[in-house]
């Protein structure tokens, strides 16, 4: 067999698959065969690189050339020019959104330069379907070290030393959690991985599971050894079919290799893993509801204590961690707690993966050291706001989090600073909003989400979120009354205090944080019946100004024939007929139509 001289890595994560990576892959297969290059070039499917904006992504080694938005039509040219003749196809290279400069190499683009990838290290660089490639990237070394050189007590102690805090949102110290469960008496304990990622705009767990599934298995096995468990569950939502497929494959491979199952690495440690597919209820991300769902019951939370560490799955002591938390574990035990704790701030150690979405140029995943500022994430890594618009706010932490305005962009990103700013780390979804976003509408969007996902068990959440949503809807429709803001605040505080689980306790956060930083927008809606961002359709109207030359384009584009006027004369809009779609304003070449 001849040496493989080049590797073509194609991302087939969910994002790139959606933009057509599978067709690109098939085309490469055909073209390489046609040019008789298949033997000397290896074609590798990888997980998500986190740069979903530029998908489908293709990276070619040894040069490390980074091609973005590759279409099947481009493949023949890449094979002919790059693979055969060694000439880079420059039109497909990545361009920095702010400078329009072409960057040929993967490591050099600004999106990756400021990142520090620990959890995501292998994502996009190894074949997730190959246990050998994971082992080649130092995989299962942490587990080997733990099983062969450490006692379970030492593992828990080491974990406490890292200062790692739960990456699922709450930020509870992972080492403490492990210690509580390890100290719980009983022969049977469970390790559970919470992969029920449900925040709108969050996809870091999915990318980890798709891109590097063995890392999660290794992290869970280390945890099982530490707490004295021999059985674990991965609770993954059924909407992640690729993640589930790759996890199943990874579990089968690890069992075959003797890295899961009985007598792992020749020791007396046994650990088996199951996958439980969730039906996509947001509340099942709450640990007690999640365990109820695994048991086959309706996914509803129950009061704590007793905590899962004492009485968890099937009433046995259980330890639940999030996907990203487990993804950090193999690295920690390979390099040691001290090395890990060098990264981050005093109270928030390590790195955090953020999912960048919304009105941002580089949509994707960014793993950064704790303590970096929000400005660096959004403007340096994220490439700034789309279309050169002005930044308004960033929503962090999903429906449980809050909005951070421009003036707080320089706050360091860590658990405590975010809480102080009225938001929370949450799972790490970052939704970036520009000047054309209405903050009342944003609060309504998130509340609509939590309201429909409320399980209905406790009254504050079931009734409270519904009433708050009604009030917000009234405000956006121009029916807000004086006193509504105060009523919202009072209700929000009662729900926070009274709800049973974190879903209800955090549901008012989007309202409270937008009220804190954008109260003037609420007031404009209520008192002036005006939506400053021009989003709430009931509060806006369109007018044709004197700039109109009577070209008639607006008249043509109006779907409800609300515009009238003679050619070359000024046109007018009938407000009775107008449905406020905005099509006329977009179309007018003379900018004669204004909102107001």
């Amino acid at each position: 067999m001849a040496l493989v001289r080049a590797h073509i890595l194609i991302c087939t994560g969910t994002g790139c698959t959606a933009s057509g990576a599978k067709d690109v892959l098939a085309k490469f297969e055909v073209e390489l065969k046609a040019k008789k290059l298949r033997e000397e070039v290896s074609l590798v499917e990888t997980g998500c690189h986190g740069f979903c904006e530029g998908g489908p992504l293709v990276i070619i080694y040894p040069e490390g050339t980074f091609y973005t938005r590759v279409k099947p039509e481009d493949v023949a040219e890449i094979v002919e020019e790059h693979i055969l003749k060694g000439r880079v196809v420059s039109r497909l290279l990545f361009k920095e959104p702010l400078t329009a400069e072409q960057v040929p190499n993967y490591d050099e683009i600004a999106f990756y330069k400021k990142q520090h990838r620990l959890a995501l290290k292998n994502c996009g660089h190894i074949n997730p379907d190959s246990i050998e490639e994971y082992i080649g990237a130092d995989g299962y070394e942490g587990l080997a070290k733990v099983l062969l050189e450490m006692t379970p007590e030492q593992v828990v102690e080491e974990m406490k030393k890292t200062g790692l805090r739960g990456r699922g949102g709450g930020g509870f110290p992972t080492g403490m959690k492990w210690m509580f469960c390890a100290k719980s008496p009983g022969p049977k304990k469970y390790v559970i991985c919470n992969a029920d990622e449900g925040d709108p705009g969050a996809f870091m767990d999915r990318s980890l599971l798709e891109g590097d599934p063995h890392r999660i298995l290794e992290g869970m096995a280390i945890c099982a050894y530490a707490i004295g468990s021999d059985e674990g569950y991965i609770y993954c939502r059924a909407e992640y079919p690729l993640a589930i497929k790759r996890l199943k494959q990874a579990i089968a491979q690890a069992e075959e290799a003797g890295l899961l199952g009985e007598k792992i690495l020749g020791t007396d440690f046994n650990f088996t893993l199951h996958i439980k597919e969730g039906a996509g209820a947001f509340v099942c991300g709450e640990e007690t509801a999640l365990m109820a769902s695994i048991e086959g019951k309706r996914g509803m939370p129950r009061p704590r204590p007793p905590f899962p560490a004492v009485k968890g799955l099937w009433d046995k002591p259980s330890n639940i961690n999030n996907v990203e938390t487990f993804a950090n574990v193999p690295y920690i035990f390979r390099v040691g707690a001290e090395e890990y704790a060098k990264l981050g701030t005093e109270k928030s150690k390590g790195t955090k993966v953020f999912a960048l979405t919304g009105k941002i140029n580089n949509t994707g995943l960014a793993e950064v050291p704790m303590g970096i500022t929000m400005r660096e994430i959004i403007f340096d890594i994220g490439g700034g706001i789309m279309g050169g618009k002005k930044f308004k706010a960033v929503q962090i932490g999903g429906p449980s989090g809050g909005c951070i305005p421009e003036e707080l962009l320089d706050t360091p990103v860590d658990y405590d600073s975010l809480i102080a700013a009225g938001a929370m780390m949450g799972s790490g979804g970052l939704v970036v909003m520009d000047e054309e976003t209405c903050m009342v509408d944003v609060a309504k969007f998130f509340l609509n989400f939590t309201q429909s996902e409320s399980c209905g068990k406790c009254t504050p959440c079931r009734e409270g979120t519904k009433r708050m949503l009604e009030m917000l809807t009234a405000i956006t429709e121009g029916n807000g009354k004086e006193g509504d803001i105060e009523k919202l605040e009072r209700l929000a505080k009662s729900i926070k205090a009274g709800a049973l689980c974190a879903l209800g306790q955090t549901a008012p956060n989007p309202i409270l944080s937008t009220l804190r930083y954008f109260r003037d927008e609420y007031e404009a809606h209520i008192f002036e019946k005006r939506c400053p961002a021009g989003v709430c359709t009931a509060l806006i109207g369109y007018k044709i100004t004197e700039k109109c030359v009577g070209c008639g384009l607006c008249k043509k584009v109006c779907p409800v024939d609300a515009i009238s006027g003679e050619p070359k004369g000024k046109h007018t809009i009938d407000p009775e007929k107008c449905i406020k779609c905005g099509a006329c304003m977009e179309k007018c070449p003379f900018k004669a139509i204004i909102r107001g």
Binding site: P62, G86, A144, L265
Partner: protein, 125 residues
């Protein structure tokens, strides 16, 4: 494949790293002129011979790269050898039969195959 000990794990790791070695840039390089002229003169066969020879000798820390026409079409197929810290040497015309000798003498042992040399490009450092 069953992994029973740390040794087993390390063995698989080493094997796997060989497979993915080409994903890291190497300082030792074989560069083949693959312009239209090069391909017409037989550069494809030279490239195949290089890959075969490298595999035979288990040389995994070498990057095999291509380059376009450098304007010396009469000397194609051209092949460059780059060793870290040394001058870059261009050979030509190189035929598949010459490949084992260049790789053994120059790439592995550092002795330039003078009778096939076209040019030497001084090392910048």
């Amino acid at each position: 494949m069953t992994i029973k000990s740390l040794e087993d794990l390390r063995k698989i790791k080493a094997e796997s790293q060989i497979q993915t070695k080409a994903r890291k840039g190497n300082e030792t390089q074989v560069i083949i002129g693959m312009g239209t002229c090069g391909i017409a003169a037989g550069a494809r066969e030279v490239l195949a011979a290089v890959l075969e020879e490298l595999a035979k000798r288990n040389l995994n820390n070498v990057s095999v790269l291509q380059t376009g026409c450098i304007g010396m079409c009469q000397k194609e197929p051209l092949m460059d050898i780059v060793r870290p810290g040394e001058d870059r040497v261009t050979y030509g015309p190189v035929y598949p039969a010459d490949v084992p000798r260049i790789i053994a003498d120059h790439l592995v042992n550092g002795n330039i195959v003078e009778d096939l040399v076209v040019a030497k490009i001084p090392n910048k450092e």
